[in-house]
Amino acid sequence: LWWAHSPPARLPRPPPAAAGSCPVGPCGRRAYAPPAERKRFYQNVSISQGEGGFEINLDHRKLKTPQAKLFTVPSEALAIAVATEWDSQKDTIKFYTMHLTTLCNTALDNPTQRNKTQLIRAAVKFLETDTVCYRVEEPPALAELQKNEWDPVVSWAEKRYNVTIGSSTSILGPNIPASTKETFVSHLASYNMWALQGIEFVITQLKSLILSMSLIDRHITVEKAVLLSRLEEEYQIRRWGNVEWAHDYDLCELRARTAAGTLFVHLCSESSTVKHKLLQD
């Protein structure tokens, strides 16, 4: 059974550390009290173009990353989206809703200090435990659902990248040949560092390299990718019922993060075609 009759209690989420100059952590306050949120301290949000790229201005102040670097993004559309995130904060700043800002901060600061090779290795490693390759044998309805929903995505990936992936019902998972991993490594190497941070983020959220690649290659929508990632949960929900404050909460959060990651990847790997058309106007 996926959900017990008395669903587990949920702690309020503290603001993520990488997302802004939020002061002290939760120690020193009562347990379970929502952390004191920063009030919105700026009137206007605007964008300006600097040497390294586009910058965000909160009133007259320039936005900085948590490690106090100047917040610069390479793409104007991304800067506009980040500015919209900041502008849509009402009385308090809710960092947990500002996914694009968080992603930009991660790309700028690189807090885990990984280089391109390490990022790619972390991403491809997920293939060994890819969600869509892990199949159950029972209940038969779920096994059937997995076959109908996941097989097309796996065969799409195999065809698109000319690799062998397969699926497995054993606890060890599928046996991924080294050539498959190499293909993905060289494919991911064609993305720049920023896009790779986004890709790795999406893979971690969806728990699947295959779903992330089919999303980034625009083969499926975000909603579909999230549905496929949560297939077993959806099956259990249909069987046992939906708990709004847990299921829908997680669903919305996963959708938001995945959408942010995908948009981030696409905006950071802009094709020259788009720029050309915009310049024509």
Partner: protein
């Protein structure tokens, strides 16, 4: 290619989301203007298989999903998870008690 539906539908929904996010002066917000300009620029070709148009539509649909999910997530958070711990007075009130009054303060 992902099953996205009609571009106009995505555009209208996206503009509505931006209106929710921005407030009163939504039409002057950079996001609103950028989205409209991008869609106008790609309207030139009516080819069904225009790649840039499909890329833009996918990006718009992704951004729409982001804005909508963030708004729904925030609403759910506010409703179910934003209240924090109850004060001792509220806890007592749950079972119908009231806290004792001590005029001289706690001993």
């Amino acid at each position: 290619m992902a099953a996205l539906g009609a571009p106009m539908r995505t555009l209208r929904a996206l503009l509505r989301e931006l209106r929710h996010a921005a407030g009163l002066s939504y039409r002057d917000s950079p996001a609103y203007r950028h989205v409209l300009a991008a869609f106008r620029a790609h309207r030139v070709t009516s080819e069904k298989l225009c790649r840039a148009q499909q890329e833009l539509h996918f990006q718009a649909a992704t951004y729409l999903c982001l804005l909508r999910s963030v708004r729904e997530h925030e609403a759910l958070h506010r409703e179910y998870h934003g209240r924090g711990e109850r004060s001792p007075k509220e806890v007592a009130g749950l079972v119908g008690f009231r806290l004792p009054q001590q005029p001289g303060g706690k001993g």
